[in-house]
C-alpha cells in the first residue's frame, strides 16, 4: 500500500539532482552518513542499522555523533561528512529553548547544505487505530528561509522585530520540486498553503510563484491554494481531501504535526530533505523524544521508512520494498508494536520482529 504513494517512484526523488551528482558507490557499496541526533535518535537509528545488517544491504555507515547542545562548530563535522557522501540518515537534534544556547543545529545543517525541500509523507497505516482513515497527504516544505531566517533584533528594549524572508528564487524552486514530485508519484494536485490575505507581499509572492510554475510548466497537475488557518481546520476535520501541499517553512511544521497526529503519531512519519547535491533522510515529524530517551520505548517506524526512501534514492529498490513490506506487516499483525500505537513491545523487540519477518519473506 505504501507503494501507491512514494514506493513506485523511480530513483529520482531528488528530482532536481542530475544523475552525476548522486552518491557514488565503491566496491558495490555506498557510504552513508549516520547522524543519530538527540533523544530517541540513537535507539531508532540502531534499529535501522540492525535491519540493514540482517538484510546485507550494501551500505556502510559513517557515524557522526554530536548533540544539539553543542556549539555551532559541532555541526561542521556533519556537514563535512555529508559533503563527502552526499547522502545521510539523520535523527533530530534537540534545540534548547533558553536564550543561552545557540540556534537550532537542524536549521544550520539544512542551510549549509542548502537542502531546501523537506518531504514528509502522511499515510494511514493499516493496524493503527485512528479517528480518520484513508489519509494520504504529502507536505513539501521550504526548508531554508521564511520565518526561520534567524534575522531578529531588539529595536529598543521591549520591542522585537523578526524578519520573515521570502524570495522568488526559492519559492519557484520549491514549487518546481513539488510539481515534479507530484508527476513522479502519480499525484493529481498541488496546493499552495499561504497567508497572503495578511502577508500580501511575502506570502503573496510564494502563492504567485507556485501558481505560475504550475500553470506554465506542469499543466497536467491541478494547482490549488488554501489559507493556512483554513488548511489546518480542514486537515483536522476532513484530511482525505488533501493530496500534495506545498508550504513556506513555518506552515509546513504546523501541517506536518497535524498530519502526524492524524495517522497515529510522529513515530510513523517518514521524511527526507533534498537539495541539488545532497539528500538527508530524517523522520518527517521532527520530534526529539527526550522524554522517552534511553528507555527502549520509541517507535522506529518513521526512521525505518525514511531509510527505505533513502534506499530508493540509491536505486536499491528491492531492499527498500522488502524492508517496508516487513515493517507494515509487523504493524498490521499488531502482535509486536510499540506503545505509541497501542502495543507494549520495546524498540528492539519490534525491530527483531521485522528481522524475523524479513527472513520469511
Amino acid at each position: 500500500m505504501f507503494k501507491n504513494g512514494i514506493g513506485m517512484s523511480k530513483r529520482s526523488l531528488a528530482s532536481v539532482a542530475a544523475e552525476q551528482l548522486l552518491p557514488k558507490k565503491y566496491g558495490g557499496r555506498y557510504t552513508v552518513t549516520l547522524i543519530p541526533g538527540d533523544g530517541v535518535g540513537k535507539e531508532v537509528t540502531d534499529s535501522v542499522v540492525s535491519i540493514f545488517d540482517a538484510e546485507n544491504v550494501p551500505v556502510d555507515w559513517e557515524s557522526v555523533e554530536i548533540s544539539g547542545l553543542e556549539n555551532q562548530e559541532g555541526v561542521q563535522k556533519a556537514v563535512d561528512s555529508l559533503k563527502r557522501n552526499k547522502i545521510g540518515l539523520k535523527g533530530i537534534w534537540h534545540t534548547p529553548v533558553d536564550q543561552s544556547g545557540f540556534g537550532s543545529l537542524n536549521v544550520a545543517l539544512r542551510k549549509q547544505l542548502d537542502i531546501f525541500a523537506n518531504v514528509a509523507l502522511f499515510k494511514s497505516v493499516p493496524g493503527v487505530q485512528t479517528r480518520h482513515s484513508n489519509v494520504d497527504l504529502v507536505v513539501i516544505r521550504e526548508n531554508t528561509e521564511g520565518e526561520y531566517s534567524g534575522l531578529e533584533h531588539e529595536s529598543v528594549p521591549g520591542v522585537v522585530e523578526s524578519l520573515k524572508i521570502m524570495t522568488k528564487t526559492k519559492s519557484e524552486r520549491i514549487g518546481r520540486f513539488a510539481f515534479d514530485f507530484a508527476v513522479k508519484n502519480n499525484r493529481k494536485s498541488v496546493c499552495a498553503v499561504h497567508k497572503a490575505n495578511i502577508m500580501k507581499l511575502g506570502d503573496g509572492l510564494f502563492r504567485n510563484c507556485i501558481n505560475e510554475v504550475g500553470a506554465k510548466e506542469y499543466p497536467e497537475i491541478d494547482v490549488k491554494n488554501i489559507i493556512v488557518d483554513n488548511a489546518s481546520m480542514q486537515a483536522a476535520a476532513k484530511p482525505q481531501q488533501f493530496d500534495v501541499l506545498v508550504t513556506p517553512n513555518l506552515y509546513g511544521s504546523i501541517l506536518g504535526n497535524i498530519g502526524a497526529a492524524l495517522i497515529g503519531g510522529p513515530g510513523l512519519v517518514p521524511g527526507a530533505n533534498f537539495g541539488r547535491e545532497y539528500a538527508v533522510f530524517e523522520p518527517g515529524s521532527r520530534h526529539v523524544g527526550l522524554d522517552i530517551k534511553g528507555q527502549n520505548l520509541a517507535n522506529p517506524t518513521a526512521m525505518i521508512l525514511s531509510s527505505t526512501l533513502m534506499l530508493r534514492h540509491l536505486g536499491l529498490n528491492a531492499y527498500a520494498d522488502r524492508i517496508s513490506k516487513a515493517t507494515y506487516d509487523v504493524i498490521a499483525e499488531g502482535k509486536t508494536t510499540t506503545q505509541d500505537i497501542g502495543g507494549s513491545s520495546s524498540t528492539t523487540d519490534f525491530t527483531n520482529a521485522i528481522i524475523e519477518k524479513l527472513k520469511a519473506l
Binding site: 534545540t95 534548547p96 529553548v97 536564550q99 540556534g103 537550532s104 536549521v107 479517528r131 480518520h132 520565518e147 526561520y148 534567524g150 531578529e152 533584533h153 531588539e154 528594549p157 521591549g158 520591542v159 522585537v160 522585530e161 523578526s162 524578519l163 520573515k164 524572508i165 521570502m166 524570495t167 522568488k168 528564487t169 497567508k195 490575505n197 495578511i198 502577508m199 500580501k200 507581499l201 511575502g202 506570502d203 509572492l205 493556512v228 488557518d229 483554513n230 489546518s232 481546520m233 480542514q234 486537515a235 483536522a236 476535520a237 476532513k238 513555518l250 511544521s253 504546523i254 504535526n257 497535524i258 502526524a260 497526529a261 492524524l262 503519531g265 510522529p266 515529524s285 521532527r286 520530534h287
Partner: protein, 368 residues
C-alpha cells in the same frame, strides 16, 4: 455519563465567576429602564436572521439588555477603511457590542473590516472557545478548548517591503506591552472561568528574540498569579497533542502570538465542530469589547430562514458573562445546547437536522 459531564462542563466554559482586572466591562444600566444598552451590528447575508433569533431569545429569557442598532458599512476616508462615526460613537458609549457576520468588501489595499474594528477600538485579545456539541457528531467528541490570541501585532503588523525585486521582508513585531496585556488577560480569564493552567504556545527555538520575549513576559507575570499554573510549549508539540487528544487541554487556557493563535483557534474549531459554523468569540479591549460569530455571511442562504444562529447565540452568552450577567448566560447557554441535543427536528441543516432559523429559536425559547 457524557450528558452529566457535558452539563457540568458547559457551565464552566463561558462562566465568569470573577471579573478580570484588565479588559473589564464598566458599563452601567440605563437608570430609566434598569437595562444595559448593547450596540448590535447585525451584519450582512444571514446576519439579520440570526440576529433576530438572538433578540427573540433575549426577550424570552428576560435578559436586562436593550439593543442599539449599529451600521458599520465601511467608509473609505483618505484611502483608509473607516467605521462610520455614528457607529463609533454608539460603541464607545455602550462599551460593548454584539456583531453578526460581515461581508468583507473586495478591493485592493483596503483593510478588512474586522481588522479595522480591532484597530479602532483597541481590541487586543481574541478569546476563542471550541467545544464539542452534543447531537452533532464529529471525529472528536471530547473537545473543550479555550484559546486567547494576541490581536494587534506579531505577523499581522502589516510591515512588509520588497528589498530588491523578488526578495520580500515581512516583519513580525513583538512588544513587551502588547504581550503583557494579552498574557495578563489570559491569567485573569483562566481565574474567571476556573481553569487552573495557562499555556503559552510559542516557537522560541526558532524565533529566539521575538517569541523569547513573549515567553519571558509570561514567566515574569506568572509571579503575580501564584494560583494559576504557567506552562510553555513549542507550537509543534501543541499542534501534535491537540489533534491527537484534545482532552489534554481541557483545564487549560492557551495564549499565543497572533498568527499561531489564528491557526490554532481555527484548528480547534475543526476539532470541535469540523467548521467555524458553531464558534463564538470575544474581542477584548481596555474599554470596549465586541462579541461575534466567527463564521461568514453565507450569502447563498441569506433570507431563507435556514441559517444556524448558534454561534451568535453563544457569542451573546460570552457577552452576558463578560457583563457579569451570569445567570442569564447560563440559562441561555443550557437552552441552546439542550435544544441541539434533543432531536434532529431541532437542529438546522448544517447539523444534519430539519429546523429553520426561527423554529430553532423557538426550540431554544421553550427550554428557557
Amino acid at each position: 455519563m457524557f450528558k452529566s459531564q457535558f452539563a457540568r462542563n458547559s457551565v464552566r466554559l463561558f462562566a465568569t465567576k470573577k471579573q478580570p482586572s484588565i479588559g473589564r466591562y464598566t458599563g452601567k444600566p440605563d437608570p430609566a429602564t434598569g437595562k444595559y444598552t448593547v450596540s448590535f451590528i447585525e451584519g450582512d447575508g444571514v446576519g439579520p436572521e440570526i440576529s433576530q433569533a438572538v433578540k427573540d431569545v433575549f426577550v424570552a429569557a428576560k435578559a436586562p439588555i436593550q439593543w442599539e442598532s449599529c451600521d458599520v458599512s465601511p467608509l473609505f476616508i483618505n484611502g483608509l477603511t473607516t467605521i462610520p462615526q455614528p457607529a463609533q460613537d454608539s460603541i464607545n458609549k455602550n462599551l460593548i457590542a454584539l456583531k453578526g457576520p460581515l461581508a468583507t468588501p473586495i478591493g485592493k489595499g483596503h483593510r478588512s473590516l474586522n481588522l479595522t474594528l480591532r484597530k479602532t477600538f483597541g481590541l487586543f485579545a481574541n478569546v476563542r472557545p471550541a467545544k464539542s456539541v452534543e447531537g452533532y457528531k464529529t471525529a472528536y467528541d471530547d473537545v473543550d478548548l479555550v484559546l486567547i490570541r494576541e490581536n494587534t501585532e506579531g505577523e499581522y503588523s502589516g510591515i512588509e517591503h520588497v528589498v530588491s525585486p523578488g526578495v520580500v521582508q515581512s516583519i513580525k513585531l513583538i512588544t513587551q506591552d502588547a504581550s503583557e496585556r494579552v498574557i495578563r488577560y489570559a491569567f485573569e480569564y483562566a481565574r474567571a472561568v476556573g481553569r487552573p493552567k495557562v499555556l503559552v504556545v510559542h516557537k522560541s527555538t526558532i524565533q529566539r528574540l521575538a517569541d523569547g520575549l513573549f515567553v519571558k513576559v509570561a514567566n515574569d507575570l506568572s509571579k503575580e498569579y501564584p494560583d494559576v499554573e504557567l506552562q510553555t510549549e513549542i507550537l509543534d508539540k501543541t499542534v501534535l497533542n491537540v489533534v491527537r487528544d484534545p482532552s489534554l487541554y481541557k483545564d487549560t487556557v492557551a495564549v499565543c502570538p497572533n498568527l499561531y493563535g489564528d491557526i490554532l483557534s481555527d484548528l480547534n474549531s475543526g476539532l470541535s465542530a469540523g467548521s467555524l459554523g458553531l464558534t463564538p468569540s470575544a474581542n477584548i479591549g481596555h474599554q470596549v469589547s465586541i462579541f461575534e460569530a466567527v463564521h461568514g455571511s453565507a450569502p447563498d442562504i441569506a433570507g431563507q430562514n435556514k441559517a444556524n444562529p448558534t454561534a451568535l447565540l453563544l457569542s451573546s452568552v460570552m457577552m452576558l458573562n463578560h457583563m457579569g450577567l451570569v445567570e442569564y448566560a447560563d440559562k441561555i447557554e443550557k437552552a441552546v445546547f439542550t435544544a441541539i441535543a434533543s432531536a434532529p427536528e431541532n437542529r438546522t441543516a448544517d447539523l444534519g437536522g430539519s429546523a429553520s432559523t426561527s423554529s430553532f429559536a423557538e426550540a431554544v425559547i421553550s427550554r428557557l
